[in-house]
């Protein structure tokens, strides 16, 4: 068994760690590049996989196909002008990205946000979370081959939420809605009513997904015990979001940091136990239910008032020199913005901590020893968006 050696040809020199598991058998390893053109990767992403028969021996993720110089562009334009660019980071959850950046700048300057704006931020962030988890679950099932049926259901619900976004902010995905010191414009009472109607219809949809899939034996057979992530590895690697909570670690930034007004809402944090794909899928679904609870509370309690801090400046925004790190619990994990200001209108350094990228670093550990068919599923369960990974 120890006589087997990995074949060291030119491609394998890119592997930067010694192999973790040994192939059994004398045969050469089959090297496959999955991607960047692949029907099931969530964007342009490549995985170089070395296979022994069907088992994965090595896996190297290769990304950067969607790099758009976001951080460098931000150094050349004003703080306000970076806000539309943050929409395009995690393009599924543009409002969460907006909030994280606004939070970072507000910390930098020490600005407060009026009540109504905080409530609106929470409502939009939780709506974003619901539609993101719905699509994530839909895509996961699509990769398992249910010919897209749950995906269509998820997108049907997502359309309703996107219609809400469009009627408020003007755009379905690139919302550009938060500003430093509040929100760009107020939500009318008609919009709040429409939002309440949508929220009332959401539990039925979650039940539908539950019925269709949670006790489905084939799904259980494909997902349980596959792609297990150990708790200590998750903590050491800096994983955050539903992936971390599926391993059983109780860490949700909404409860830890209590940013915004999250301490006013009663909600629970679902935790998994085993850390496999099934746990991640179920944690996302239960989080959708908790988000619906938060939405109901927020839509009930939203007060009147202004939505923008009156002292906030739109143009000529020149923060004093300093640094700040603002982070939120985005649907994918901990999204953080680190800003260094040197007193000029443009930031000196603008750094995004992308949750998808950090969550991807453990992809190899999760996939070792599993089948090729499972690699696609494990990758889908990490729930990444390439806009965030590559910026």
């Amino acid at each position: 068994m120890s006589g087997t050696e990995l074949v060291h040809d030119h491609k394998m020199e890119g592997w930067n760690r010694p192999p973790v598991i040994e192939p059994d058998g004398e045969a050469e390893l089959l090297e496959v590049a999955m991607g960047p053109h692949h029907p099931s990767t969530h964007g342009v992403f490549r995985m170089d996989v070395a296979l022994d028969g069907e088992r994965v021996i090595r896996l190297k993720p290769v990304f950067g196909y969607l790099h758009r110089n976001h951080e460098k562009i931000a150094e050349g334009v004003s703080y306000l002008a970076s806000m539309p660019y943050t929409d395009r980071l995690d393009y599924f959850c543009s409002l969460s990205n907006n909030w994280a950046y606004a939070l970072a700048v507000e910390k930098l300057v020490g600005q407060t946000v009026p009540e109504r704006a905080e409530y609106l931020r929470v409502i939009l962030a939780e709506l974003t979370r619901v539609q993101n988890h719905a699509s994530a679950i839909g895509f996961l099932i699509q990769e398992m081959g249910a010919s897209g049926t749950p995906l269509m259901y998820a997108f049907r619900e997502r359309e309703k939420i996107l219609d809400l976004f469009e009627s408020l902010t003007g755009s379905r995905m690139m919302c550009n809605y938060m500003r430093f010191g509040g929100c760009r414009m107020d939500a009318s009472a008609a919009w709040l009513d429409a939002a309440r109607k949508v929220v009332v219809g959401l539990p039925k949809f979650v039940d539908e997904i539950d019925n269709l899939l949670s006790s489905n034996e084939i799904l259980m057979a494909r997902c349980q015990g596959v792609g297990i992530l150990r708790q200590d590895l998750a903590i050491n690697a800096g994983i955050s979001g539903p992936m971390l909570r599926a391993t059983g670690v109780n860490y949700d930034l909404r409860k830890v940091d209590k940013y915004g007004i999250y301490d006013r809402f009663k909600f629970r944090v679902p935790l998994g136990e085993v850390g496999d794909i099934y746990d991640r899928y179920m944690v996302r679904m239960l989080e959708m239910r908790e988000s619906i609870t938060i939405l109901e509370q927020a839509l009930n309690d939203i007060p009147g008032g202004p939505v923008m801090n009156p002292t906030a400046k739109l143009r000529g925004f020149r923060p004093k020199a300093g640094e700040a790190y603002g982070r939120i619990e985005s649907p994918k994990g901990e999204l953080g913005f680190y800003l260094i200001s040197d007193g000029t209108p443009n930031p000196y350094r603008y750094r995004v901590r992308p949750p998808s990228l950090v969550n991807l670093t453990v992809l190899e550990d999760m996939c070792l020893g599993s089948n090729v068919a499972d690699v696609v599923l494990i990758f889908g369960s990490v729930d990444i968006v390439l806009g965030e990974v590559d910026r």
Binding site: N216, Q224, D252
Partner: protein, 391 residues
């Protein structure tokens, strides 16, 4: 009148054959039936492809194709023209003869299977004494064409896909045969015509179809599962999975040859549905004794289409199983149950004619199914989980 409608194709054939000289009459009769089959089933295939796309669309809350012709009825013609006019690419290193013959072998083998299905009263092309045996031996040669396709492409990924497909088909041949053996046992004959005639009796208006007996119902369910796996339909379509590593054994086929593979697969689906209808659902016999005025071929084709609809339904709902789970399922679950089914069928014959045999046979089958299901799931540690929350 009902009699004429029932026998209309037979009468038509006799009339046409009567117009020809006596010496060629036997061969003309056979050729005419062959032409009818070769002409009709591909037309049904075209309709089924459209039905599948529209059915899947409706299940996914969308309309299927509806632009080409009213309700998309001309879509199959458009698809046919497209596949005929595509360039036929044969890889340079491929084995050209085998590459060419593979789809041909598939289609010919599947058409041969239609020769023994009784599609109506007196409407079987060849009435052999051992027609079921003939059907299964011909059906097994479809696996040969799958392997020819994968081998001749000289592409290691196609070969992988072909080997998986052949392994799957061989594993499921055994349950397929064993569930039919119960039927043969109870009828006492291998001839499909006699099997249908044995089911063509009515008691109190209800037919004697084998599906209405405990062993027949269990046999039908296992036959259906094995049939789905034999024809590589979802949830057993890993060899041709779209989101898998390769497109399977027909990666290297383009244009008309690909269309022939597609045709062969659907014809195999029709053929095996026809066989299932013949063995368990009474073939061309009517469901109630007062409905015997409806022509027999209408009943046969309705049952065929019903099976197709169930295939489409399964495809739209279920994710696909992984290869090793598929094989485990076949050998460790379905096969023992088919063997038990044989035993139960024998018990049915020898337990007299009253209600006792119903109770005993049903009880044995239900208990065995539930027990094996539980044991199987527990061994793999599958099962619904409960999640705890943190506040």
């Amino acid at each position: 009148m009902a009699e004429t409608m029932d026998q209309i194709f037979v009468l038509l054939k006799h009339w046409i054959v009567g117009l020809l000289p006596v010496t060629v009459q036997p061969i003309a009769s056979v050729l005419l039936s062959v032409v009818a089959i070769v002409g009709f089933f591909p037309a049904l295939f075209a309709l089924t492809v459209l039905l599948e796309r529209k059915g899947l669309g409706r299940m996914q809350n969308r309309i299927g194709p509806n632009r080409v012709g009213p309700f998309g009825l001309l879509q199959p013609i458009a698809d046919g023209i497209k596949s005929l006019t595509k360039e036929d690419i044969v890889p340079l290193s491929a084995d050209a003869t085998v590459h060419f013959l593979a789809p041909v072998v598939l289609v010919v083998a599947v058409f041969l299977g239609f020769a023994v299905l009784p599609m109506g009263r007196n409407m079987v092309l060849v009435d052999m004494d051992a027609s079921l045996l003939f059907y299964f031996s011909i059906g097994a040669s479809t696996e040969l064409s799958v392997f020819m396709a994968g081998w001749s492409s000289r592409n290691k990924y196609s070969l992988l896909g072909a080997m998986r497909a052949v392994a799957q088909m061989i594993s499921y041949e055994v349950p397929l045969l064993m569930s039919s053996v119960a039927v043969v046992m109870m009828t006492g004959s291998l001839s499909l015509v006699k099997i249908v005639e044995a089911q063509n009796h009515y008691t109190w208006g209800l037919p004697h179809w084998y599906i209405f007996t405990p062993w027949g119902f269990a046999g039908f369910v296992m036959f259906a599962v094995a049939a789905t796996a034999e024809t590589n339909r979802s949830p057993f379509d890993l060899p041709e999975g779209e989101s898998e590593l390769v497109a399977g054994y027909f990666t290297e086929y383009s244009g008309f040859k690909f269309a022939l593979f597609f045709l062969g697969e659907y014809l195999a689906m029709f053929s095996i549905s026809g066989l299932g209808a013949t063995l368990f659902l009474g073939g061309w016999s009517a469901p109630f004794s007062f409905m015997t005025w409806v022509p027999s071929w209408i009943w046969f084709f309705s049952k065929l289409m019903l099976s197709i609809i169930v295939f489409i339904w399964l495809r739209g709902t279920l994710p696909r199983m992984r290869q090793d789970q598929l094989m485990n399922f076949a050998w460790k679950f379905v096969l023992p149950l088919t063997l038990l089914n044989l035993f139960v069928a024998g018990l049915w014959r020898f337990l007299g004619n009253g209600w006792e045999r119903w109770v005993v046979c049903s009880a044995i089958l239900i208990v065995a199914y539930a027990a094996m299901g539980k044991v199987g799931m527990r061994r793999e540690h599958f099962g619904p989980r409960s999640y705890h929350y943190a506040e």
